[in-house]
């Protein structure tokens, strides 16, 4: 059992996870000077979706989506469960791949990607085996070490802040609605947190919504600052604007290149995301097949993820193209369609069962 606060922090970090690294430049590319508005409405949408999930989990308390699927559809639920398992693995692999891409491009160009994957999987596996509390507490302890340096650096960077970069504002307010895949990633992926949801002591719903809201806020704030620091022209073109921002920060004349430290610290965000996803996948396996052992399945998952992370996409360009094409459909299927159907069938069944009792 984890506390409300821990769940809230998990939500925030999970949502920020890879977003800060991967999506920023695309957001700015599309939204130009008004880019900072896009995360806001995407977040609003995400909260709507979250409401649906909460409704679903409230309908049969203490059960995770997978268990609900079995309750709703019996054996067919197993298939749904497997679908979810694959989906979690997919996103997890994606997160892993983001780490290695990022590290390879920025500070460790020669290290083979799989090394990053394996190291992270080892640690994540160990953490997941220790159970839910460990995940919650780990995240709780790590968070200040993420928040503090990150925002300090952004504050320090504001020495070359320039309002001109954000002008003219509100040129094409509707342009920002074009980037639909932002709804899927990161916001719909937070569905993975619903595997943790039943483990929260109380008030998980509020924590989830609040977490999504504050995550959306902070993404938009980051986009805003990045735009104001690099200007839309550069930020839209640079692959990892965050990296450039921290790279150009200078503490006096002495400490000029602190980016590697910050990068390595920020990577932890992605680790948290991976952690939750691995946990979700692991839980799914457990709830579907009720195995007795823990380690072997994490080992298997690690093998699967480490492989999937390599083949998830061939090159960044293909990733961008396909991402735009499939993400939204893929996520909507898992996080809107199936839950809605489950909710529907549950309601129907309850209605049918309750009728004879009324007699």
């Amino acid at each position: 059992m984890i506390s409300r606060a821990q769940f809230y922090l998990l939500t925030v970090n999970f949502t920020l996870g890879t977003t800060l690294f991967v999506t920023i430049n695309e957001i700015i590319q599309r939204g130009k000077r008004d880019a900072w508005m896009m995360p806001l409405w995407a977040g609003a949408y995400g909260m709507l979706a979250a409401l649906l999930w909460i409704l679903l989990l409230r309908s049969s308390p203490g059960k995770s989506p997978v268990q609900i699927a079995r309750e709703a559809w019996g054996p067919a639920g197993v298939i749904v469960g497997i679908l979810y398992l694959l989906w979690f693995c997919m996103i997890g692999a994606w997160a892993l791949r983001n780490v290695s891409d990022f590290m390879n491009v920025t500070i460790m160009p020669r290290t083979p990607p799989s090394m990053f994957h394996v190291m992270f999987l080892l640690v994540a596996g160990y953490t997941v085996v220790q159970g839910t509390e460990t995940i919650g507490r780990l995240n709780g302890i790590v968070t200040p070490f993420l928040v503090f340096p990150f925002w300090t650096i952004l504050m320090l960077a504001t020495v070359d802040w320039d309002w001109e970069r954000l002008l003219p504002a509100f040129q094409n307010p509707w342009e920002i609605f074009r980037f639909t895949s932002l709804m899927g990633f990161p916001f719909m992926e937070t569905f993975a947190l619903m595997m943790l949801y039943p483990k929260v002591r109380s008030g998980a719903a509020g924590a989830l919504l609040l977490g999504l809201a504050s995550a959306a806020m902070s993404i938009s704030l980051v986009v805003f600052m990045v735009t104001g620091l690099l200007g839309p022209e550069r930020a839209g073109r640079i692959l990892y604007p965050i990296y450039t921002v921290v790279q150009e920060v200078e503490l006096g004349d002495v400490i000029v290149n602190i980016h590697s430290v910050l990068i390595v610290i920020l990577i932890t965000l992605i680790f948290i995301k991976l952690l939750v996803l691995l946990y979700a996948a692991f839980e799914t396996i457990h709830q579907l097949f009720r195995p007795a052992s823990r380690w072997p399945h994490l080992e298997a998952l690690s093998i699967l993820l480490s492989a999937a992370a390599v083949v998830i996409y061939e090159n960044p360009i293909q990733n961008r193209v396909l991402n735009g094409a499939i993400t939204i459909a893929y996520d909507v299927f898992h996080t809107i369609l199936i839950p809605a159907l489950m909710l529907l069938s549950l309601r129907l069944r309850r209605a049918l069962q309750s009728r004879p009792r009324r007699r």
Partner: protein, 397 residues
């Protein structure tokens, strides 16, 4: 497999991983610290020549007070190739250690390369994750090869020497601005603005000298580098120069804050004023469909340099201030007109229009025919150590 065995297995696996090679590992004495980079491109053959100044670590042990004797503080390598990347890798024909670009302090680019256009170079350096773009970019007047092979006295590392000079010039003469880094050039040009970057040149030389000779030579004006003047950049191309006087005006008009000394005609003679620019604001309004840009400049000046005249009464002071306002405004106007005559939009009127009135049909047209009104406001702050000047005969004629 018990938990203990598991742990053992995990440890073994880790060690096995450790035994394999460590990919990004490189010892610091297998590195060459690049402190200054130079770029040249031959217009005819289109061959790039890249110069790198690599710090000689043997001279670095200066903390113990033993600056590496007669060794050169830096070594200059040059390599050329059809493309920058080729040139970069060609270095390893000469360079025994891996390049480390993170510590590069400044980038020089030869005038002819700048005039051909440096977009490709900018892209290249932005592509390299280890090449920071937050370092100043300077145009080299004359042969870059010579500049790259020139020692600087006192500050033994030329890059440091140049950078600290830029700072000093900004603080005391306003002949160098703040926005002269690669990233600024990129950003400004991408916004279709113009930007002026400093020019560096080698001073007259007395034969070929080594570092020891340079440090032994008393005349520090020779055999070293001089930073003076500005190169006007538009669309990644150098389109012209600004002389030092104009450079000050340019920086004042673009809102750089700093001190400078200027000599104005006054009562037949002249008056030298030590000025400090306080604030600059551009306002845009429209008169019968034509944009009018109002530029208000505020300065503080001190009597510290005013050896010719010292106002005693308030209305004398007011007169002086009004005079300065009017004269300075005149100078600024003439400067602006001169540059606009050349078709240079140094005041970034166009992007002002773009910001304030984004959907103009033809911003360039509007920018070119926008009217510019400059008003200057000077105030006396700060004093020298004289309450009234000695007024014996025998001043400057």
């Amino acid at each position: 497999m018990s938990r203990r065995q598991r742990a053992a297995a995990a440890v073994l696996a880790l060690c096995a991983a450790l035994l394999t090679s460590c990919w990004d590992k490189v010892e610091i004495n297998e590195l060459s610290l690049v402190s200054l980079a130079g770029l040249d491109r031959d217009p005819e053959s289109g061959i790039y020549t890249v110069y790198l100044q690599v710090i000689n670590p043997a001279t670095g042990a200066s903390a113990q007070g033993a600056p590496g004797g007669e060794q050169s503080p830096v070594y200059t390598y040059a390599a050329s190739g059809k493309s920058l990347a080729e040139a970069q890798v060609t270095f390893y024909k000469l360079l025994p250690r891996r390049m480390l670009l993170h510590h590069t302090k400044a980038v020089l680019i030869s005038e002819r390369a700048a005039r051909q256009g440096m977009r490709d170079y900018m892209n290249f350096s932005e592509l390299q994750p280890d090449a920071r773009t937050s370092i100043p970019l300077l145009v080299v007047d004359g042969s870059i090869a010579e500049v790259m092979r020139t020692f600087t006295p006192l500050e033994r590392n030329p890059a440091d020497s140049i950078v600290s000079r830029l700072d000093l010039m900004y603080d005391f003469t306003l002949k160098a601005g703040r926005r002269i880094e690669l990233r600024d050039v990129i950003e400004r040009v991408e916004r279709e603005e113009m930007v002026v970057i400093p020019i560096v040149a080698a001073t007259s030389k007395t034969g070929h000298l080594n570092s020891f000779d340079v440090n032994a030579e008393i005349d520090a004006n020779r055999n070293q580098l001089r930073v003076s003047g500005g190169a006007v950049i538009r669309d990644y191309r150098m389109v012209g120069r600004l002389n030092e006087g104009d450079l000050v005006l340019y920086h004042v008009l673009t809102g750089e804050k700093g001190r400078f000394v200027r000599r104005f005609p006054f009562r037949g003679g002249h008056i030298t004023v030590n000025m400090r620019s306080r604030r600059m604001e551009q306002r845009l309004d429209w008169q019968d469909g034509k944009p009018v840009v109002r530029i208000r400049l505020q300065f503080e000046f001190s009597t510290i340099a005013m050896k010719e005249y010292f106002p005693q009464t308030l209305d004398e002071l007011k007169k002086l201030e009004q005079h300065l306002n009017q004269v300075f405004a005149e100078e600024l106007k003439t400067f602006v007109n001169k540059t606009r005559g050349k078709g240079w939009d140094l005041l970034r009127i166009r992007s002002l229009l773009h910001r304030k009135a984004p959907n103009l049909p033809d911003p360039d047209q509007a920018a070119s025919e926008a009217e510019i009104k400059i008003e200057v406001e000077t105030r006396l702050r700060g004093m020298g150590n004289l309450g009234r000047l000695y007024d014996g005969a025998g001043g400057e004629p």
